[in-house]
């Protein structure tokens, strides 16, 4: 099955540098008015950083399919939590809904 993968030192240093650069960009981007894109950019960068940590620091890139599946599963269920909760809130106000008794 999965033998232990030893990444070269350079990989870790490269990823660390990339994470530093992305952190700088995220701060920089926050000071630029991108309209509704500001949070999108912030989250995209955070997502990218998280992905780098997961793939290289946590070795998921070299891990078994089961580990990869576990990672995907966690995101899938968080996505369900978000999507279905927001489904309620996003449709608020579509109908001038007056709860019974008011």
């Amino acid at each position: 099955m999965s033998s232990v993968h030893v990444s070269p030192l350079s990989t870790y240093l490269t990823i660390f540098t990339a994470l530093m650069v992305l952190s700088a960009i995220t701060v920089g981007a926050a000071f630029v008015d991108l309209g509704s894109l500001n949070p999108v950019v912030a989250l995209a960068i955070a997502g990218l950083k998280a992905t780098l940590v997961i793939l290289y620091f946590m070795h998921v890139k070299y891990s078994s399919r089961l580990t990869k599946l576990t990672v995907v599963l966690s995101m899938f269920f968080v996505a369900i939590l978000f999507a279905e909760t927001l489904m309620d809130y996003a449709t608020r106000g579509w109908l001038n809904y007056v709860p019974m008794g008011q």
Binding site: F77, L81, E84, T85, D88, W94, P99, M100
Partner: protein
């Protein structure tokens, strides 16, 4: 058939005294610890139910103050849901049986297993403290803002107890998932696993995915209550409906934590006694996973009248019906298995027949409640109370008791009284229907839940219900007597009293601490009931 001999060396004889139990890492002993502690909580929760039913025999609120009554149904719910039903089958039967079923010596993390029991006990102590200190009256759902801002009862201690017990559940689930993935005997691939193991795998997924969400929700309620944070309280700009979303994201799937393992038990018993392979094995296996996943997308059907939008409600209503599909797959496949099988009437089987009836009624009335239009009429009435008791008590406890009766000879090595076990199975079935069927009618007629008084015209049905509860209570008490009696005086059971094909029946009863002398090698297909296997099994 030669008379079986009670084995001199087994997990029960390996170490005596309290310390050998309290520090054990043996999954079987931990299962026994769980059995004792959840039984204690079951009877405590039952006591509160007795109080509720006594109050409701008369229309007037003459036995308790309204506040006391509120505490009674709250504590009944909290204890039964979090301290009995959720641990019940997994922590006792799953803990005991999963390792021998997959040919392993123990669960993957024996110490974490013991830790989970201690965490459960600590959670329980918090809740008991809350009871002694004057109880709690929010209902088991802890709805905000009442729980986080208004109620003056011991919400914090109870919520903390539930929070802590949740980690016990998470750790059990985590242990099972890793065990089932990594500890199977060589050659035991997934489609040779008993359906009991599949069901527990699906359950464990819910435990590790759902429980943390309710845990964080409780943390936020706690922060709001204890430190005056603003999160759910509308006076502080918060949204109580968000609490309900988060709460039901866990608590709806939690129903499947209770019922799925029971469904796994039913599969084992049905195939053993009908001497047949489960019809459509892989469908039943995957239906467990499907129930686990679908369970996560339907939660807001608990909130149709809570203020969610009609658009969301329609989607949730539609999705809720999807759960009926894998549930029906199971029922149809069990029926097909029984068809032309050899029907018998041992106590475990009696529980299974009872289960079919109750699960069917519980499941079908669930469809009424999933339907947006009818739910608005039935919401918060006794119809809902009856429905979830048919699933959570009728389904889960029938499965639990059936499983206890089925594996008791394996766990203890001795048989219980055949006669009394049948009597108690019948009492439970009759008592249960007598208690809860009238509640469907009451709910349909409009009697709301959680009130300690009601109009006179509801009295006949309520008295019927209370009378049934007495029968049901007797049915639950009897097993305690004859099972405990059997520990000492029961006939020696032998390795495989039912002639079942699972791996757990190949080892002695009670098993050795390490379950098997050697790791089993010739792994059978699941439920291999060929005439040859039956003949050989009977010889043991």
């Amino acid at each position: 058939m030669e008379t079986p001999v009670y084995p001199a060396h087994n997990y029960l004889s390996n170490g005596h005294g309290l310390k050998s139990w309290l520090l054990t890492k043996d999954h079987k002993r931990i299962a026994i610890l769980y059995l004792i502690s959840i039984s204690a909580f079951f009877f405590l929760g039952g006591l509160f139910a007795v109080g509720i039913r006594l109050e409701l025999t008369t229309p007037q609120g003459d036995l308790f103050q309204p506040d006391t009554y509120n505490k009674f149904f709250t504590l009944h719910g909290v204890i039964m849901v979090f301290f009995f039903l959720i641990p019940s089958v997994p922590a006792v039967l799953g803990n005991f049986l999963i390792p021998p079923m997959i040919g392993a010596k123990d669960l993957a993390f024996p110490r974490i297993n013991l830790l989970s029991w201690y965490i459960y006990v600590i959670g329980g102590i918090f809740t008991l403290f809350a009871i002694v200190a004057g109880g709690v009256d929010t209902g088991w759902t802890f709805y905000t803002p009442y729980s986080s801002a208004s109620s003056s009862t011991n919400v914090a201690a109870t919520a903390l107890g539930v929070f802590i017990a949740g980690f016990s559940s998470i750790l059990t689930g985590l242990n099972f998932i890793v065990t089932i993935h990594r500890m199977r005997a060589p050659g035991l691939h997934w489609f040779k696993l008993p359906l009991f193991v599949w069901a527990h795998y699906a359950t464990s997924l819910i435990q590790v995915l759902g429980t943390p969400v309710v845990a964080i929700t409780i943390v936020m309620v706690f922060a709001e209550r204890a430190f005056g944070f603003g999160i759910f309280d509308p006076q502080r700009g918060g949204d109580p409906v968000l609490f309900q979303h988060l709460f039901w994201f866990y608590s709806h799937p939690a129903v499947y934590i209770m019922i799925l393992p029971a469904l796994g038990v039913i599969s084992e018993i049905v195939s053993t006694f009908s001497r047949k392979r489960i019809f459509g094995y892989s469908f039943v296996a995957f239906s467990s996973l499907a129930i686990a996943v679908f369970g996560f997308i339907v939660w807001a059907h608990h909130m149709f009248v809570a203020g969610i939008t009609v658009y969301a409600a329609m989607v949730f209503s539609f999705l809720s019906f999807s759960v009926a599909i894998p549930s029906a797959v199971k029922v149809f496949n069990w029926s097909a298995t029984l068809h032309r099988g050899s029907l018998s009437f041992e106590a475990p089987m009696l529980y299974v027949y009872g289960f079919f009836g109750l699960f069917l009624i519980g499941g079908l009335t669930g469809l009424f409640l999933a339907t947006l239009g009818t739910d608005i009429h039935l919401h918060d009435t006794y119809f809902v109370v009856a429905h979830f008791h048919y699933i959570m008590v009728g389904g889960a406890i029938m499965g639990y008791l059936g499983g206890i009766h089925f594996w008791w000879p394996k766990m203890i090595g001795r048989m219980y009284s055949e006669f009394w076990s049948r009597i108690s199975a019948i009492l439970v079935f009759v008592g249960f229907n007598l208690t809860f069927f009238p509640q469907f009618v009451l709910g349909y007629m409009g009697m709301p839940r959680r009130y300690h008084m009601y109009p006179d015209e509801f009295q006949v049905l309520n008295v019927l219900s209370s009378g049934g509860a007495a029968v049901l209570g007797l049915g639950y008490l009897l097993p305690v007597i004859y099972l405990v009696y059997s520990i000492k005086y029961g006939e020696v059971a032998g390795n495989n009293p039912w002639g079942a094909s699972g791996l757990e029946w190949r080892t002695q009863s009670p098993p050795l601490t390490e379950n098997f002398l050697e790791v089993p090698t010739d792994i059978p297909e699941a439920y291999e009931y060929t005439p040859k296997v039956i003949r050989e099994a009977k010889l043991v």
